[in-house]
Subunit: 155 residues, 2 copies
DNA sequence: CTCCGTGCAAAAGGTTTGCACTGGT
DNA sequence: ACCAGTGCAAACCTTTTGCACGGAG
C-alpha cells in the first residue's frame, strides 16, 4: 500500500542514515528503488519495481534494482512478502493450521493451535473479497539459529 | 507435518476416487508423489519431494513429480505454501498488517485491521521459536474474479 | 484400441553473479 | 583517490513445455 508522503520522507531519511552508518554510498539508484516501493499501491514484484524505476532512471539495470531491494529488506525498510527461498513448498496438511518461519535459515514448521482457528473473517462488504480460509505466518528465529546466534555472541 | 497413517489411507482413497471421477488414470507415479508428501515432516520443495520419490521409483522424471504436485493442489489434496506467482513481491509497509490473496488471479491487497493485531504469540517454551511478528494471509476470491465467475455461471 | 501420462530434453522465467568502469564519499 | 556501486551479460536454478513412446482404462 502506498505510504503517506509524510511518512515516506521519514523513511527516506532513515534510509540515508542507515547507509551512512554502514559507510554505504547513497546513490540515485538506491533512492529511486526505495521511492518506487514507497509509492506502490500493491505488492509489486521485483520486475514491477524495475519498470516503475525505469520511468525515472531509464538506463538503470535489472541487477541494480534487485540489489537495491535486497538491501532494503536487509535494513528492515521493506519486506519480501513471499516465502523464504526460491522454491515453492508443498504441504499435505489441508486443514486450517499456521506456520512458524525462521527469518535466518528459512525453516518452516507447522503450528496447530485451535485457539487461533476461529478468527473472524474480514467482512465482505468492506473488503469485497469472498474469503474462505486463512493462515497465520509467525516470523522469528528457530531454536537452532537461536543457539547459533548465541555462540556467535560469545566468540 | 506427517499425516497419521490412518488419515493417509483415507487421503489416498480420496485421491483414487477423484481420479476416477475425472477419468484420470491412477498411475504409480502419481500415487508415490502423494505418499511422499503425506510422509513429509516439513514443507518440502518440489525438488525435495522428487528426491524422496526417487528412493521408491528411481527412474521417475522431474517433470512428472511437478505435474503430480500440481494435480494434488488442483484437487485440494495439497497446498502450495508459497505465495501466488513465481516472483517475489516487495512491500514498503513494515508495520503489522495482513493480506487478502485471491486464489484465482493471485492479486494481493493489504488489510489493516487493528483488531487482528494483538494475537497472542505462541509460547517460546512450546515452539522453541523466538517470534517477533506475524501476518495473516486470508485466501479467497477477489471482487473482479467474483464477477467473472458469476458471468461464467450465466453463460 | 485410444488417450493420456511419462520421460527426456530443451525452453522459459526470475534471480544472482563476475567483471570492468563509473561515481559517491 | 579509494572503494563500493553500477551496468552488462552470462550463469544459475526452479518450473514449464513439446514430443515420441508406452501403459492405463
Amino acid at each position: 500500500m502506498a505510504i503517506p508522503a509524510s511518512e515516506a520522507q521519514g523513511r527516506i531519511r532513515r534510509f540515508e542514515r542507515l547507509c551512512q552508518e554502514r559507510g554505504l554510498p547513497v546513490t540515485v539508484q538506491r533512492r529511486v528503488v526505495l521511492e518506487a516501493l514507497l509509492e506502490a499501491e500493491d505488492h509489486p514484484s521485483a520486475d514491477q519495481v524495475l519498470a516503475k524505476v525505469r520511468q525515472r532512471v531509464p538506463g538503470i539495470s535489472q541487477a541494480t534494482v534487485y540489489r537495491g531491494l535486497d538491501l532494503l529488506v536487509e535494513m528492515g525498510l521493506a519486506r519480501k512478502t513471499c516465502n523464504p527461498g526460491r522454491h515453492c513448498r508443498y504441504d499435505a496438511n489441508i486443514h486450517r493450521h499456521h506456520h512458524l518461519v525462521c527469518d535466518r535459515c528459512e525453516r518452516m514448521v507447522d503450528l496447530e493451535d485451535p485457539t487461533l482457528n476461529d478468527l473472524p473473517m474480514p467482512d465482505r462488504n468492506l473488503t469485497g473479497f469472498h474469503l474462505v480460509d486463512y493462515t497465520i505466518q509467525f516470523r522469528g528465529t528457530c531454536p537452532d539459529c537461536l543457539r547459533a546466534q548465541h555462540r556467535e555472541g560469545i566468540e
